[in-house]
């Protein structure tokens, strides 16, 4: 669906945002009311290495990995569950594979609804096989396979999503050089252009099959920055650079919702609190329970305004108790039972403050995702939306930097402070018009391995 820019904030303040409720709730076919008042768990089973050899073995693997999680909901009494399968290479490369796995899981969910009254929904997330530095983003075989994969899975899945890769080749070059200009060009400009090209088509495919177009995530760039920033004793990338990249990613990821995506958004999009402030769609977020896939410093805070609570991906293995997918589905379900008890008791404001105070000053990347700050950054992005993707992303980054530098409780090491000050200087020194910025970058990054302006229509 053609992009319609969002130029008005969906929420009036961060205080107005709350977990469990979204301005534009979404209903699934088996009756989950996402964003309709309560929080729902989302588990993401990943197949064991080797099970992707044939369609038959992969179907069998997902039948058990997804089935175990559904069964555990009935055992412990959790009322709802969303199961996401992020495609392994073979599932998208052979579009029928993804389709058959979606059909199989839909049947399993219909049985559970029938037999127990368990409300479940399936999200299928084709893999973005387009490696920017090796494939033409718009004309490669991989591009066609991805589109075909969406057509296959949307016939059976309740929700479709993707983790698109536009601009990653520039981002990868820039992030390890503290180069905020390259980060803004990769995520904010190239990423946004690719998003518009992709999501225009994805939303139409979803609508044609009566499937929910969920959303996108800047996992390939902003999460790479977050992982490389790492924890409290890593020395790869300054955390403040991950914070600025995250603010820019909100401007880029919003394009999906401007093209008609409705949420639930993608779990690994840590920019989702900002997305919710701007668009009002229900968001899925991941925090402490995604430790199975990666560590993070916003384990509780990132749940403060979530509508769906997820665990990123867990590989299907045996544990003492049972298989990993049932273990993590049980834990996620109990976290949701806790959030929903708080809502029913009328203690949601206290719960929200508890979650935020746990991590707000643990890290600068967490700080900018606290609801009030997320709203401010969203407001800066929307305030410049009419102008250009570039102006919008740049405004978001500058606002994030100002929030970090302006908050006395946010202590920074010397090195982090210096890195942030340098980045702010660079941001302020950039040209005003998107046209000039793009010209500057096309020259500055022309030798970056695999950068092909034609992939973005430039």
């Amino acid at each position: 669906m053609a992009r319609k820019k969002i130029e008005k904030m969906a929420y009036s303040s961060g205080a107005e945002m709350m977990f469990g409720t979204a301005k534009h709730p979404v209903k699934t076919s088996r009756g989950i009311h996402i964003g309709g008042g309560f929080v729902h768990p989302e588990v993401v089973p990943h197949p064991r290495a080797g099970s992707e050899k044939t369609k038959k073995t992969l179907l069998r693997e997902y039948e058990r990995a997804n089935g175990d999680a559904l069964e555990r909901m009935v055992i412990v009494g959790h009322p709802t569950l969303i199961v996401e399968n992020e495609h392994v290479f073979q599932m998208t490369h052979n579009p029928t594979w993804g389709g058959e796995i979606a059909a199989q899981t839909a049947r399993q969910m219909d049985d559970c609804l029938d037999k127990y009254g368990l409300k479940a929904a399936y999200r299928s997330t084709p893999a973005d096989l387009r490696k920017p530095d090796m494939h033409h983003m718009r004309e490669s075989d991989y591009t066609h396979e991805i589109i075909e994969s969406f057509k296959q899975v949307s016939k059976y899945a309740d929700i479709i999503s993707i983790e698109s890769m536009g601009g990653k080749e520039i981002f990868d070059h820039a992030i390890i050089r503290n180069d905020i200009t390259g980060i803004l060009f990769g995520i904010g400009v190239l990423g946004a252009i690719d998003m518009e090209w992709m999501w225009d088509q994805i939303v139409d495919i979803a609508k044609s099959n009566n499937c929910i177009p969920g959303g996108d995530t800047n996992c390939s760039e902003a999460n790479t920055a977050m992982f490389m920033a790492g924890g409290m004793v890593s020395k790869d990338v300054p955390h403040v650079m991950a914070a600025l990249a995250r603010a820019i990613s909100a401007s880029r990821t919003l394009v999906a919702y401007e093209c008609g995506a409705t949420g639930p958004t993608k779990d690994c999009a840590y920019e989702d609190p900002i997305i919710k402030a701007m668009s009002g769609v229900p968001i899925s977020t991941e925090g402490k329970i995604s430790a199975c896939a990666h560590s993070d410093l916003a384990g509780n805070l990132i749940a403060a305004v979530c509508d769906v609570w997820s665990n990123e991906a867990v590989e299907y293995h045996d544990m003492f108790g049972a298989t990993t997918t049932s273990v993590f589905a049980e834990i996620l379900g109990y976290d949701c039972a806790m959030f929903n008890s708080a809502i029913e008791l009328g203690y949601q404001e206290q719960m929200k403050e508890i979650l935020v105070n746990s991590d707000m000053y643990r890290d600068s990347h967490s700080l900018i995702l606290a609801p009030d700050n997320a709203w401010e950054i969203g407001n800066a992005i929307i305030g410049n939306r009419g102008d250009s993707n570039y102006a919008s992303g740049r405004a978001g980054a500058i606002k994030a930097g100002q929030i970090i530098l302006g908050d006395s409780k946010m202590k920074l090491t010397q090195l982090e402070k210096k890195a942030l000050e340098n980045a702010m200087k660079d941001l302020e020194g950039l040209p005003d018009s998107e046209g000039d910025f793009i010209q500057m970058c096309l020259d500055k990054y022309k030798n970056v391995k695999g950068f092909n302006p034609d992939s973005y229509g430039l």
Binding site: G77, P79, G117, A337, N340, E344, L345
Partner: protein, 249 residues
């Protein structure tokens, strides 16, 4: 005082109330004396069943009492358990009552009752006595199999020797800890070497399907309630490979 909600439907769902079934045991015999025996078995009444069996044996043959009262009563209980109306304790108490009745009939016959086939059961060496094995024994027994119970903390070669002597149609192993289940592949290996191609059901707390599928003869037993069904397949001559694909899928 603590604030307590009234409606929990957005917090948890009582699936047990949703699937609740209240089945009743059906009548198993038109003969009032035999039906009376079956009722005591269904109610798991170990004391009550003895006098009615002794009275019945005054006018009926031991085999009649066993095949037309004791076993049909037990089958009703297994059906009700399968269906979800009865719980495990009722099955165990009914098996106890049935065994009291069978013992009385065997005493009258002067020899033990014909059993379908032998099954060797054990709990792994170093592992604590596990209820899982006790349940498997009771269920196999209740379904007419002769159980060779080796008990718990059983060394590998003792299990293999028992299989050589008794030539059972099936052997089961229970392990609660990952550090003790390592005996199972050894047992399977020795059974193969002694070309005793016996389906080897391995289950219990720590035993995972992934682990059991790594050695020949191994079939993962997810729940004790599967034991009788597996024994019937083994009795019917099914290979361990086809049993594994059927039960572990």
């Amino acid at each position: 005082m603590m604030k307590v909600l009234n409606d929990f439907s957005n917090i948890f769902r009582r699936y047990d109330l949703h699937v609740e079934k209240t089945g009743q045991a059906k009548e198993v015999s038109k003969d009032p004396i035999l039906q009376d025996i079956a009722k005591f078995v269904v109610e798991g009444d170990e004391e009550g069943v003895l006098p009615v069996v002794q009275k019945a044996l005054e006018t009926k043959s031991p085999l009649e009492v066993i095949n037309d009262a004791l076993i049909p009563g037990m089958n009703e209980v297994s059906r009700l358990w399968e269906e979800g109306s009865y719980f495990l304790p009722q099955v165990i108490l009914s098996a106890d009552a049935m065994n009291v009745g069978i013992a009385e009939c065997e005493k009258k016959m002067g020899k033990s009752m014909e059993r379908k086939a032998k099954v060797v059961t054990h709990t792994a060496e170093g592992d604590i006595h596990d209820i899982g094995q006790v349940i498997v024994n009771a269920l196999l027994n209740a379904n007419g199999f002769e159980v060779i119970d080796l008990g718990s903390d059983v060394p590998v070669d003792k299990v293999v020797a028992a299989c050589r002597d008794h030539q059972p149609i099936m052997v089961t192993g229970t392990a609660l800890m990952t550090t003790t289940m390592s005996a199972f592949p050894k047992i399977a290996h020795q059974l193969k070497k002694a070309n005793l191609e016996i389906p080897f059901i391995c289950g219990g707390g720590a035993v995972a399907e992934e682990y059991v599928s790594e050695y020949d003869l191994g079939i993962w037993g997810k729940e004790a309630s599967q034991a009788p069904g597996m024994a019937e397949d083994a009795l019917a001559g099914e290979s361990w490979q086809s049993m594994r694909s059927k039960w572990n899928g």
